[in-house]
Structure formats: C-alpha cells, structure tokens
Assembly symmetry: C3
Homo-oligomer: 435 residues x 3
C-alpha cells in the first residue's frame, strides 16, 4: 500500500465490543472492568468499550465516566488497542453532537484516559461527507486537547447502503488537504442495522449472508490501506458456525471479526493462524471431508465413497451412484483430483525457507511435494501432489505468516500461548522467515 | 432516509406490466382494459401499461391512444399506482425523442388521463447523464402541462452495465439544482436485456442469476431512498421457483418483483407478508425441511434423518451417514442446532408488543422463547429456543410489519382479503403496533 | 455500445501468456518461438509474450530482444493479435519506467516488430490515475515512433482493490481530452496477485472464487465497451474444472480466459461455441445430469431417480427419499419441470431463421418446441417444451452466434476445424443468420 497510514498494525483479528454500562447493577462499570483484565488469546486486538448499542440511552453519561475510569485504571496494562464506540447517526445532528461531546470528554487530558485511547469507533455513518463530519470532530478534539493532528484513529461501522458506497470513494478522498481521513483504521460491517436499513427480510429472522457487502468492505479496506472486520455473530453457542463464517471471510480478505464474548475472542484470535498439524481433505459428493490421521495414514471412514480391489490388480471406486473400474494409475489420478492438503504452520515455513534458498541459488521456481497414504475401506493408496512455487505463490503463501508476525510483534501477551500451541522452534522460524 | 422523496409508499411488492396493444385483435386495448379492472390481491401496487416491449413497434401510436383511453376510463377506480412504460434507449436519440412524445401525449390534460398517471417507467437507461436526459423531459412536460415540478415520478429499468454503475452515483446527483431527480421512484432490474448487454450466455439459454446486480440495485435504492424491484420471472408455470426467487430477493432488501400475469401478482403481493401460522424447519443434509404440524407437534417424516432410543435412556441419531449416540441433553442440543422457527404474523406482533411493554417498564432487552415438540420416527423431543430482543432486534423484526402497514394504508381494496387471511383481530394489532 | 472503440473484435476467448525467456536454455526464445507457431484452435485470439512474471528479473532485457526477434520473424503469419506484457507496478515508479522503456524498445520501427504489435498488457495497475500514467506512455511512444495516436491498444491486469474500483470510473474517464483511454481493450482479472493484495487466505492455499470481482470486471467491460477476461487456472490437468470455470464466467458475461498451455487454448477457444449436438439435462437431487442419447431417446441410467409403472396406468417416481404416485399427465409435468435442453448450433440457427421469417411475415412472437423421449428405468415418457420467442429472446439467443461470427471473421485459420466440427452447411448458415 502506498497510502499513508498512521497506524501500526496490518491485521486485526478481533474487534471486541463490551457493554459500557449495565443498568441496575451496583457497579455499572463491572463488565467493562472485567473486559479490561483480559490477557493473551482471550484479549482482543481491538477492544471497544461500547457507549452506543450496549448502553441504554439514559446511561450514556455514566458510560462515558465509566470508560474514563476503567481506561485510566487498566489502559496501561491492556495488551490490545482501545477504541471506544460513541454514538453517531448519519440522519441525526443531535446524535452526532452527542458523539462529539463523548469523545471530547473521554480524551480530556485531565481525566487520565487519553494516553491509552487509540481511537474511536463511529457507528451508523452515511456517505463520505458524513465520514468527514466525524473526522472534523476528531481534528477539533486533537487541537483542543493538544494531541497531534491525526493521532486518534477513526473506525466506522458500515450499516447503510450509502456507507457501503462511501468505501469506494475513500481512497480518493483520503489525503485531500481539507480532511484528515488518513486517520481511518477499521471498516467494520454491522449487519444487524444494515439489514434493517436495506429493509431485508428472511423467513426466520436470521441475518442474510451479505456476501457482496463483505466483498466491498474488504476491497474498500484494501484500496485505502485499511483493515476489514466482519460484524457480530449472534448465535454465541454456535462455535462451528462462527468458524465457518471466519473461513468464508478470510477467503474474501476480511481477516477480522466482531466478538461478543471472551470465548468468541479466543476463537477469532486463533482462527486465522495456520494449524499446528496439516490435514488431508477428500471430496465426497461435493463436500470436503477431513480425513483421520492414523499411524501416519489418512483414513476415510464414511459411507459415501467405497473402494475395493477387483482381485485382478484393478479397483472399483463407488461414489454418489457412480461406479468406476480403474487400474492403479487411474485410481491414483482420481483420488489426486479428490484430495487437497491443508498445510500446517511448519509446512508453510518449510516451503518458504526452501523457496528462499532456491531463489538465493538463482532458481525462479521449484516443485513442492505433499505425499500421503490414503486408506479407504482398508485399501491403501499412495498419492503425491506437486505444486510449482514461484515468486507469486511464495508471496500469496506469505499472508498467514505475515499475519502471524504482526500478531507476534504486537501481542507479547500471546507469546506463551503461541509457543505452547506450536512449539518454540517453529515460532522462532515463523517470526524470522520472509524478512 | 433523509433523502427527500416525493412519493408516499415505502414498499412496492408488485410491478405488473401488461401489454398495451395486441396486434390483430379487434379491440387492441382489450388486455389493457382487463388489467385495469383488477382489484384486491390480484391488483398490483404499480401497474405498468407497457408501450415498449409488449407493443409492436408499428402499434405504439395506437398504444398511446389506448393507454389514454383506458387510464381516463378506469384510472380513478384503479387501486394501485399507474406508471406507463414508454420507449427509451441510451444509444438512440430517435427512441428517446419518441419516448418524450409519448409521455407528452399521455399527460396532455385535454386527454383526461393525466390525473391518474403517477409517473412513467423509462427502460434501457444508460449512465447517470442519460437518466438526466429523461428527467429533463419530465420537467419540460410538467411545465408544458401546468403540473407541479417533480410531481411525475420516474422509474427506470436497469438493463446495462452503465445503468448498474449509475445507481451508485444517484444519491449524490439527486438534489443538484440542475435536475429534478428527486422524482425517482423504482429501480427495476431487467435481466433479459441486461444479459444481452453483458453478452452473458448459459448453455440452456436460461437467465443467469445475477446476484451482484440485484445487490447493487437494492443498495442503490437504499442509499437514494428508492425501492428496488426485480425483473420478470419467465417461467410462469413455475410458482415454486417464483417464490424462491422472491425469498432470495427479500434477503437482499429487494421487496418488489415484476409480474407478468395476475396469478404472479397474487403470489408477489402475498409473498412478503408474514405467514398466518408459524412453522418449524429442520436442517436435514444441508437442506431445510418444513416439519408437519400434527396435533400441536412438529413431525419429520422423511428418510434422511432417523432417531431411535437405545433402551437405556440414550438416543441414536443417524443423518447423512453419521451415527450419533447421544444422551437426552446432547440430543436436545443437536436438534436445537438443526431447527429454526418461522414466526407467524401473530408471533411477530406478540413479540413487538411484549418488547414495547418491557421498554416502557425500563428494560432494554428481554428473552423471547419458542418451544416445540419434535417427532422423529415416533420419538418425541422437546426443544425450546431463546432469543434476546434488544432495540436492534426489535427494529429489524419490524420490517415485515412496516411493510404490512404500508400495504394496509395504501391498498384498502386488499383489507377484506387480509382480514380473511389473518383474522381481523391480528390485522388490527398489526396496524397499531410499533407506531 | 456507443463508446468509441479503436479495436475490431467484440469477443476474445483466449488470452495466452507464454514465457518470454527461459533461464538456462541455449535458446532463451525457444518457448516464445514455439508459441508463435500455433495455428487454428491451438492459436489464441490474443497472444501475450510475457516479459513480466514469466521472465526472471535479470532476463528482462534479453526478453525484450527475444520478443522483438520472434515477433518480427513470426508476427506476419501469426493468426491472433499480439500484445506483449511488460512490467508495471502501481507502487513503483522504477518499475513503471522500465515498462515504458520496454514498450519503447519493442515498438521501435527499426526493430521490425512494431507492425505486428497490436498493443501491450499492463499488469499491477492501481487506480484510474495510474491507468492514465500508462496511457500517457503509450501516447508518447506513438508520437516518438510516428504511429497514429491511440493505435496501440492497452489491456490491464486487475490485481488490486483500487484497480477493481477503477473499472467503475473508466467509462466516464474515457474520452476526456487529456487522455487516450479509448485505446483500452481487455480487462483481465489476475487472481493470484489480487488474492495477495486483498490479504485473502484459504486453508489449502487454493485461490478464492472471487465472484464479485469477476462480476465487476464484466460490468466494467460492458459499460466501457471492452472485453472481460478471467485469470489463469492453475491446475492445468483439471480440464473439467477449467470448463466449469468458463461456464460460470460466461454466465457473468466474461467470455475470455487466460490460458497457460496450448491445451488450455484449445479448451478456451471451443468452450463458448454452441455444441454440435443438443442434449437434455435432468435435475436429479439438485444436480443437472446430462442424459445419454441412445437411438434418438434420452436415457437416464443413474440410481438417484427411479420410475416404474404401477400396472394400472399410473407411475411411481422416486427421488431423494420422496415417492410420488402420478398419473400420466402429472408425470409429464413433473419431468418437464426437471428437464432442460441445451440447444445445438443447428437448433439456435434454426430458431433464429424461423423467428426472422416470422418477423418478416409480421409476427412479433412465435412458439419454439423441443421434444424428446425420456427413458428412466426402461419406462418411456414423451416430453415437449414450448418457449415463446420474441425480439428480446431472439437478441439474447444471438450472443453465441455473434461470437461465432466474430471468430469466423477474424480467425480464418480456424475455418477448417470449425467446418469439421459442425459441417460446412451449418457454418455457412451460422455466418449468415442475424445480419
């Protein structure tokens, strides 16, 4: 990215909103205080004390006080960045003015919180001119409080059609002399209010998947040198669904996701990291099934694919009503087409190191091989996949490693858990490779 | 929406084009006349007497006369809005001039139709400057005929790549002093010609699904305060396919669809309304199956999922080749994950009223519960789903009710059928809730 | 398209990059020379001698020399267009200047290649201002070398978010007096580097499908009168996958695809052409299965659908766990819903001729019928599908024929193979129809 960015991180995995004020508790800052004590994989990359939706309208003044108190107390020790969410609405000048006042108060140097505040999250933004209104308030606040211009970062929640369109204008608006939009940090999708704004409906009331919105957010972030973050995943118990959503997001270039609980934070912090061990996938009836690794062999034990020998050196493979009679080479070919390998952290680092050595030795491309023994209905078949690595493959494979290095640099509180997860040796190699 | 809109309706379900002139008939206005007599759920929200594709080129002068005659006669009693489609083409000045002349003639006060004309539909538009050319003709016509400036609404058919892009510019072009684009009303996708313009091909000649176009239309409508309408569904016999398409559209925020027949109008008028009775869905092999309600229980009678007791208080659930041995809690958990509930009109109104009462009593969030007895292979299992409702949930759930209220206000001719469908009690509560 | 275009072709099927220089060979122009000798269906519509990724950085000067030598030698006889790829990067002025120098050298009239060079491919472009920088170099080169302004066409590889956005600006930037962007020719997606730029990741390292990018490329091309081309398909052995990808692309209006081998060129040249013979599809469990044509009947021999007579004139159809008892009419109806027909070249030409004759005779719409005898488990059922053809259907059906005619006009070297494929009679009719 040649776009100037004021911020340090290239990846944000977790965007954790926690309630600011809980109505009716003795200590309305209780949940805020407990969120500020999170550490390691339970602590988010970006923590968002939420003075908007998570705080009742009549509690928002107290919310500001609580944010100030808790951030002043705990901010120095908190391992992630801190970006409170204030109120804002593209269609309400009164709400916008309240948001300005909340930010002004939170960043008042006399209150002792400002040195731990990295920026603010502005919800319900509209078109790019609305973003500029928020940016102008940041600039005024910085001048009022003697902060460096542009030092507070601004993240927005995209929850309207006009905000979605604004992401396409951002790159050319940033850097104009009349704004400080280089302070932009995260583009966060907010699907609940977006769904309402788009007047979308599903029979069960579930949120629509909005693939195009997520693409446009990811693209807008890429074009403007920012980071794309997906919205909340409501069904907190559904860990598998949360993982699937993150996998889908990563394929769109959206590395971060909103977390509603510390449990979701752990999932979201670990999901984009390469696995400790590699695994093989077998395509069965259009679905990818992960094979069981047993004694170094990859075993399929489902019923939707069957394999037997025909007693004369040939094989019979049955899948989805099809019956294929194959010789050994044809069987290998068929299974090769049906298998894919998910590389481990070690595999990726190995391959990168190998390619770097080859490049140094003057070679532009090398073949990388992954081999496995597949076992289907007790029949064993050897398969081996070659992939050519050139500079482009190398650079594409680098993304998870760059992310890992970004995490490692900015989150020392996670070093211990990462070492437990991967082993210190591979952690060291992973932080060194590609630099 | 803070965008100024000259029109009254927030939702349009049905966009019904009817042929203007049928070649070779004694009475070339016959079909037009019969369309103008539709009432109730058979009558569309927007009726489009079609002087473009549905009328042969050499019949278009007669078409204009027919439109004038029929609208003058029947317009006062017609329950929906009337927006004739005239000819237009982004690449043909001659066609654009003909369109202007057709509109000028139809709105001539001496012809007696203009007081029932709500606007016009402009097909085959190009980029935003082409939309402005049409808007300018509307303005001239309004001045020529002593109509209020901006009183005729303009809807466009999006059937080119440049028109799709123009929807992203509309919000910032509306309200400029040199145009009257606030007259914009519907953004309608026209997939047949769009497919041709994009040079897209499918093996069978079927239309491609164009999910991105529909998203962009819906987003453009949302950003500019307009209403998005999907194009024609050719296979008139395929009612199930038409319903699926509308469901998919609603999840994109596209509430309206083109209807080619009065039968399709009925389907499209009822599809976005909440169902009379709620129903349970069970996820079987990745597909959602609607359960049969029998004696207050929800029965699955397919073969793709089986359940039996193991005689020792446990259960065996088989699905898609997987065999799960579960205790009672695990079974409940598993089935909970696999079920979803489609709320009825009554359910939605109940929940909204309950939340409103809670809010008045000072509570910001309450739990709503849906419970059912599932029956699979004769085995009964109780499940109960909780969902937290806060302000955002409330507002998102409101969309179908807002639509219902919009319908109720603007379509008195449908009151009787709605009362038959839902019962008068719930209709009354549904029109009152949320205001 | 009313957009002015300097180029002749409306469709490009194949975009074939071949290495310019192979390190370590005796003759580093060997592969280039062999690519230049391709003819007929093995020869691409656009040949791209690649002095960027396929050539090692230290070999690029030699690469320029090789391109000059081979194009000077073979260009006159080469049947497709020739557009070398030079280096470029939106974030590197040094790389951009090298790209300029490479183009300047290749087009030097003294080197004898320029008369066979149709244009250049610019990779790694950024926002529209970056495209203008490249365009300016083309203009300078044309003036330096006495070529007509705008005579060299410019194609770009879209491999960044900002380039994706730029495709939405292109139409309004083309034709401004300060640029010559009317020289634009192909918009090519480059998914490997795009994935890297978007920081996207998949578990196996496979490329994400990027449907929205492909839509936006196709739409940008349509709006600006250009041609959309998809990126490379890495898995060279996977012919079926390549065909599926092209089918998906064509449904998006993206007719061309990158080819990495002469084998892929053949596939990509033939894929968008209508088939020699028509075929019937049967929808079985959500998947479309092609039926076997045997003795003029269409036979289903899978296991996922079964049909038997009940001995009393009725039928039992079983599919996906459902068991339907149907009378003859119901059976026909059900099977009609489940079948689709892929028309052959002859079918399309027949239908077009028939519609043209009807139009001449004053009819606006006619019914076209496709009939077949289906055989399922030995039971024969007659089905017959009617489709109304009007002007819009006619024009949409015309796309494959227009493509065929474009191919026929520009690729005389493929006439013989096309005649072998279809027979001379139908080739003659296909080139004549619709004009």
């Amino acid at each position: 990215m040649s776009v100037k960015r004021h911020y340090d991180r290239e990846f944000v995995r977790t965007f954790f909103t926690s309630p600011t004020a809980v109505d009716g508790e003795d200590d309305s800052a209780k949940m805020l205080r407990s969120a500020g004590q999170l550490r390691g994989l339970q602590a988010p990359d970006v923590w968002v004390p939420d003075n908007e939706d998570a705080t009742a309208p009549n509690m928002r003044e107290e919310g500001v006080e609580n944010i100030i108190e808790v951030v002043a107390e705990q901010g120095a020790a908190f391992p992630g960045e801190i970006h409170p969410r204030v109120v804002w609405h593209r269609e309400s000048p009164a709400t916008r003015y309240q948001g300005f006042q909340q930010m002004l108060e939170i960043t008042d140097p006399e209150n002792g919180a400002v040195e731990h505040i990295d920026g603010f999250v502005i919800p319900e933004v509209g078109d790019i001119d609305d973003w500029k209104k928020a940016d102008e308030f940041f600039t005024i606040i910085e001048h009022e409080h003697g902060l460096e211009e542009g030092s507070l970062s601004m993240s927005v929640i995209v929850e309207s059609g006009e905000a979605e369109l604004a992401m396409g204008d951002l790159r050319e608006e940033m850097g104009k002399p009349s704004n400080n939009l280089e302070r932009m940090f995260l583009l966060v999708d907010g699907e609940v209010d977006y769904t309402k704004d788009m007047r979308a409906m599903t029979p069960t009331g579930e949120l629509p998947p909005w693939p195009e919105l997520r693409h446009n957010t990811s693209r807008g972030a890429s074009a403007a040198g920012l980071i794309a973050v997906d919205g909340p995943y409501d069904d907190i118990r559904d860990v598998e669904g949360y993982r699937e959503r993150m996998k889908d997001n990563r394929a769109k270039g959206m590395t971060g996701i909103w977390s509603l609980t510390p449990g979701q934070v752990v999932e979201a912090n670990t999901a984009p990291l390469p696995p400790k061990t590699g695994s093989w996938l077998l395509d069965v009836g259009g679905q990818e099934v992960e094979l069981d690794a047993q004694d170094g062999k990859q075993v399929y034990d489902g019923d939707d694919l069957s394999l037997e020998t025909d007693g004369e050196g040939g094989y019979v493979l049955q899948a989805g009503g099809d019956r294929l009679e194959l010789d050994e080479d044809e069987l290998t070919e068929e299974l090769l087409d049906r298998t894919a390998y998910i590389p481990s952290m070690t595999d990726i680092v190995d391959s990168m190191e190998e390619f770097e050595a080859a490049k140094e030795a003057g070679k532009g491309a090398i073949a990388m091989t992954q081999a496995a023994t597949l076992v289907i209905d007790g029949v064993e078949v050897e398969v081996s996949k070659d992939r050519m690595w050139d500079e482009a493959t190398y650079q594409a494979a680098q993304t998870p490693i760059t992310l890992f290095q970004d995490v490692y640099e900015h989150r020392p509180d996670q070093h211990e858990e990462l070492a437990e997860m991967y082993g210190t040796d591979i952690v060291e190699r992973a932080t060194a490779v590609g630099n």
